[in-house]
């Protein structure tokens, strides 16, 4: 498991970057965002709100003010820009899984399960045949 579940929310595990690859944002970016971001904050916008809007955008078109805030933040934050593209790519990947393109040979029914299913099917066939013949014999006298 790469993450722990707390109250239905997946939180990053306690030691998220064993090799130090998960670095903080670059200092330069943080400084620029400190100044340009004033405008951003005035619009009550942040990376978090941007990410939420970007997610909402998959469900419905954004409304006027939402779209403006989205576009402005998109223009000044390259991390959010890239992040939005990655989310779209993940979405395409999920669609591929959903549409059954995902045909690797990994998952197979166990022999035990196949046997169980075979028995259940034979039983069902018997029941279906029995129901039909019983129904027929019922109708005759009536």
């Amino acid at each position: 498991m790469h993450a722990e579940e707390v109250g239905g929310v997946v939180r990053p595990a306690a030691a998220p970057d064993p090799q130090g690859k998960m670095r903080r944002l670059p200092l330069f970016h943080r400084c620029v965002m400190g100044f340009v971001g004033l405008f951003d904050r005035w619009l009550q916008m942040s990376c978090r709100s941007f990410t939420r809007l970007a997610s909402v955008r998959h469900e419905r078109p954004l409304r006027g003010p939402e779209r403006l805030r989205h576009t402005l933040h998109w223009a000044i934050c390259r991390f959010c820009r890239l992040q939005e593209r990655r989310m779209a790519q993940l979405r395409i990947l999920a669609h591929e899984i959903g549409s059954g393109l995902d045909d690797d040979g990994r998952a197979e029914l166990s022999a035990e399960a196949v046997e169980r299913i075979r028995r259940a099917m034979a039983q069902a066939a018997g029941r279906a045949g029995g129901g039909a013949s019983a129904g027929g014999s019922e109708r005759d006298p009536g």
Binding site: A3, K21, V56, G98, I117, R118
Partner: protein
């Protein structure tokens, strides 16, 4: 009531018959693995997936006469399985206590593990995700990506998982997805936002660590 005796006798006849009939069902059973692969990312554990495949094939045997042959048999079976999965979700909603993470129809608390209190990213959200730029024609890389995402989807918390599957894998319209998942229309965006971020973090971790 009067059908009972008839049912009993045919039931007794079955004891001898299956050997003769089993060949008939082998063509259905041949689709078993494909059905399992369809069900696995949609329900979170293998036992349930196998049970659903069994239910599907049993229904298919009983309704065989209704199969018109207009679509392929695989499509027909997947259609049945899809209904079974939706039924399973409905059952899950009625028995929320049976799931490890309790009431899954409401989003949990509002805190965010990925952002600072000011709403900035804590860490670079895109590290490790360069792999997503993989050319779709590179089938090997692509199938590795799909396997990773499938793993992450299967490990989503139950509530998020159900909503995400209905919306993204089943590709239902937002309203239909809400109805099937038993959540309010307003909370759909929150659920999906959480699920997508969780998946992103999970995929990222997979590539950063490897």
């Amino acid at each position: 009531m009067s059908e009972r005796p008839g049912g009993l006798t045919t039931g007794a006849m079955d004891e001898r018959e299956p050997s003769g009939r089993s060949d008939e069902h082998e063509d259905l059973l041949a689709h078993g693995n494909a059905l399992l692969r369809y069900a696995l990312p949609r329900v979170r554990d293998r036992c349930t997936a196998e049970d659903l495949v069994q239910d599907t094939l049993v229904v298919a045997v009983a309704k065989r006469s209704e199969f018109a042959g207009e679509s392929s048999m695989r499509t027909w079976l997947v259609g049945i399985l899809r209904h079974k999965i939706l039924d399973h979700y409905r059952w899950q909603q009625r028995h929320p206590g049976d799931q490890p993470d309790g009431d899954a129809t409401r989003p949990a608390d509002d805190s965010d593990p990925w952002f600072t209190s000011l709403g900035d990213w804590r860490t670079d959200p895109n590290v490790g995700l360069e792999v997503l730029d993989a050319d779709p024609s590179q089938t090997l890389e692509r199938s590795q990506l799909r396997a990773a995402l499938r793993f992450c989807i299967e490990h989503l918390p139950a509530g998020l998982h159900r909503v995400f599957v209905l919306r993204e894998l089943e590709d239902l319209e937002p309203d239909a997805a809400c109805e099937a998942a038993g959540i309010a229309r307003d909370s759909l965006a929150v659920f999906l936002y959480r699920a997508r971020q969780a998946l992103r973090a999970c995929m990222q971790k997979k590539w950063v660590e490897s």
